[in-house]
Assembly symmetry: D2
Homo-oligomer: 269 residues x 4
């Protein structure tokens, strides 16, 4: 049993490296709801130890009448909070026509699970040089996921970070089925860094800690965790959000486990 693990491409986002020996943490609310809410969430995320901030400007929702994100008005909020805290920002893009407005404000374009097959969008993102966080479609084979990354790369942008977030199966106790074998597989057969989103994968607060630990043990290069300063009041996906104290506790356990397998949590200068 020779180790066939390929060396992982390192993606640089400001001071943060994803794909190096150290683990990177992305945290924040599903949606930006107001400046106060986002600043509070971001501050909690930073205090808990997150390196990058997450916040949804544009949302894809199954129900056309559900809250779809603040949209354009959230751009200014995002810019202001990002500057105040000095944290790089990850935000989802849902339409190629949003690139222009987002590109100077965000640090990583997130492609959501429903857009992994949106090849025109991937090609457009491939023409930029911004890092792209490519979530696996909940119905994509690993092969399709890697080929979607190739759409971005072959358009000129090598800065792709994969994100496993659960696949759709018959199981109903969890929102999706987190496929950690896919993480280990990708680490061995691809050079792309891969992170894990335990929040959307499980849809359950109580599984975020064990699945965060398991993700790092399986080889993930980082975590994307949904966090809300007041989880109960969150306008979207609140049932799976944790607060800043929860996040700090989870990260301290992740740190302990990571040290044992030579995956320390990233320390910024």
């Amino acid at each position: 049993m020779r180790s066939m693990t390929k060396s992982t491409r390192q993606i640089q986002i400001g001071q943060v490296t994803i794909g190096g020996p150290a683990i990177a943490i992305i945290a924040g609310p599903c949606s930006i709801e107001s400046e106060a809410q986002f600043l509070e969430a971001a501050s909690q995320a930073k205090k808990a130890g997150a390196h990058l901030l997450r916040g949804g400007i544009y949302k894809l929702r199954t129900h056309p009448q559900s809250f779809q994100g603040l949209g354009d008005p959230a751009l200014a909020i995002a810019e202001s909070v990002r500057k105040k805290l000095g944290m790089p920002l990850v935000s989802e893009i849902t339409d190629p026509r949003q690139i222009e407005g987002m590109i100077s404000i965000i640090d990583v374009f997130q492609v959501g699970t429903r857009n992994m097959y949106n090849y025109p969008l991937l090609k457009e993102l491939g023409k930029t040089s911004k890092p792209v966080l490519l979530k696996r479609s909940f119905s994509a084979s690993i092969e399709e996921w890697l080929l979607a990354a190739e759409y971005i790369e072959s358009s000129g942008n090598p800065n792709v970070i994969l994100c496993e977030r659960g696949i759709r199966t018959f199981e109903r106790a969890t929102r999706n089925t987190l496929d950690l074998s896919a993480v280990a597989f990708v680490k061995q057969h691809s050079t792309l860094p891969v992170i894990v989103d335990p929040s959307h994968a499980t849809g359950r607060r109580d599984l975020i800690e064990p699945m965060s630990l398991a993700a790092i043990a399986a080889g993930a290069d980082g975590l994307l965790i949904e966090m809300h300063p007041n989880a109960a009041a969150s306008l979207s996906d609140g049932h799976q959000a944790i607060d800043g104290e929860d996040l700090a506790r989870i990260l301290s356990r992740v740190e302990k486990l990571g040290q044992a397998i030579d995956r320390p949590i990233l320390r910024l200068a």
Copy 2:
């Protein structure tokens, strides 16, 4: 057991009605490859009894190096063949920015299985009045599929035709698993017409006839069948394409079955 079948909304495309008592047939090649190829395919489709012509201008392909459709140059071919044969044209849209170029040339916008969750695209199509053929995502629940239709309708366009084309399951003998219960379910719980694509659902030439018959028996309002004048030479998806003679034979059996359950094949004046 009361019949709860809702009355179906009728969508008018030129002389063709989808959602009435009669069954409509859409046929044609996966991709427009050249004027000669498309004209030949279209002529065969018309001769075999198809009412609408199908032909791909823009294609979404899993591999970035696969043939992606001719793109813009196919627009003129599409226009020319449509005019020559006097048949309405159904073609897939993969990016909201294609609406402008396509809207005067095609009669039905097809939204492919990978774009069912592309809500920005659906909203843009909802601002037009062209009929939209909304394929079910291979991973969408029936509920998500109906809600995707609502994105188009609530943007102002009621002309939505659903299309079941197989879902992704563990089974590998067929390319996808054709879900005909979903067709029967939609006929009872929605007012939208629904057609079936047995070609992509099964990925096997030899299953197109039995699945076409079963689709009509389950209540489908029409069929979308991939047809290629020379199936072996087709640049994409040729393994599931049939030729014009095959199509004529299948339609004659569909007609016989349809008559027995009061679903005749549509006759144009």
Copy 3:
């Protein structure tokens, strides 16, 4: 597109042939609850046009506290009703040790979806000469299903009837996803007759009629329909059971459709 449909092996059960040009109907309650209930159900099934009677003596239930069938006491009821009505009886076997008690009373051993992989049971049934109705496991590939049949055949019993009853997928609107492509596939690649159970496949009364029609259109050699004289009072699976009048109405539509494709309903002398 040459027809590659193999000729189907005909299985004889008393006067009833399964696998010939004519369609056979099996109907009856999920469980035998009492002599009065089973006689009433059987009489309704016979009157509605069923050829074989179905009735559960031993049941496999997910919950250990659910009603598990009457068990041995139902054997005498089964024998009595079968004799009174002169109809062959299909009943599920759940343990090889039940063969001895059942073999003189029932005409077809039914292997349920949860036992398709129970190879020791299949081998024992292969040592008898009684027809075996082999339900597909809800998680079995077509290949595994055909190989399970081979366990029975290679033990010496060629009298195998396949039964498609829905597979487990992500879809939740229906109890399972009825896989009619599998029926068409099996008709082309195997010599075994195949019937369809639309009741367990869909779990919904209102889908039994369209799925019965679709099954016959797809090539099924028969139907297995759950029927209860008083559906609301059924102790198990009542939500999908229809009554005798419903069955008669469905069969009259099946007959009409069948005639159009040369699959008449079986007429007994």
Copy 4:
């Protein structure tokens, strides 16, 4: 986020406790092929640090012509090797009629994935007091798995150990999809200990190490690893088997990770 983890029932097998703070390791070949092969495999497993020995006497194989295990002749081999090495033995039971021959020779009855729904077998095992290792069916929901355990418990035997071994999904890069969320879920909502089989879950030698680590991180109480002294020559499932040296290396990494999260590997006196 209160920890809702229930305290886990401890199952005693000789000197080995499953469900306590320490992790237990079960290893050995898929099938007992000969005394020499099994003794060699068992010695390697013991040397590598395994606490319990695994060896198949009776096998369920998809193909009726595949090697089905040595059957009864393997009982004497099992007994001899178990005595020589002083290691408790885990072996699969496939038919209730095997209980009598196995009960004095093996220490844990393993119920394979294909028999999880074989309730008559579970009830019979519930009448013994031997520990039962209950593998999850590859198509079972977590709820069905816990209810299957209840069949054993409500028949009188509380000594149930759950084993997650991958579920069947659309993904084809791995043999099954290892569902570690299910492990974490079960730890929180049940009192039963749960172990993980990374060999059958992934079907790939190169994923056994990362998935073993991830399983322990997710909360598993132990591992069941397939090991073969000469993996290439194994008559069944050789593609996923590792040898003794591989196992030792994996366990040393598991130990390191386990210590960081207070899950040491079990030390026998």
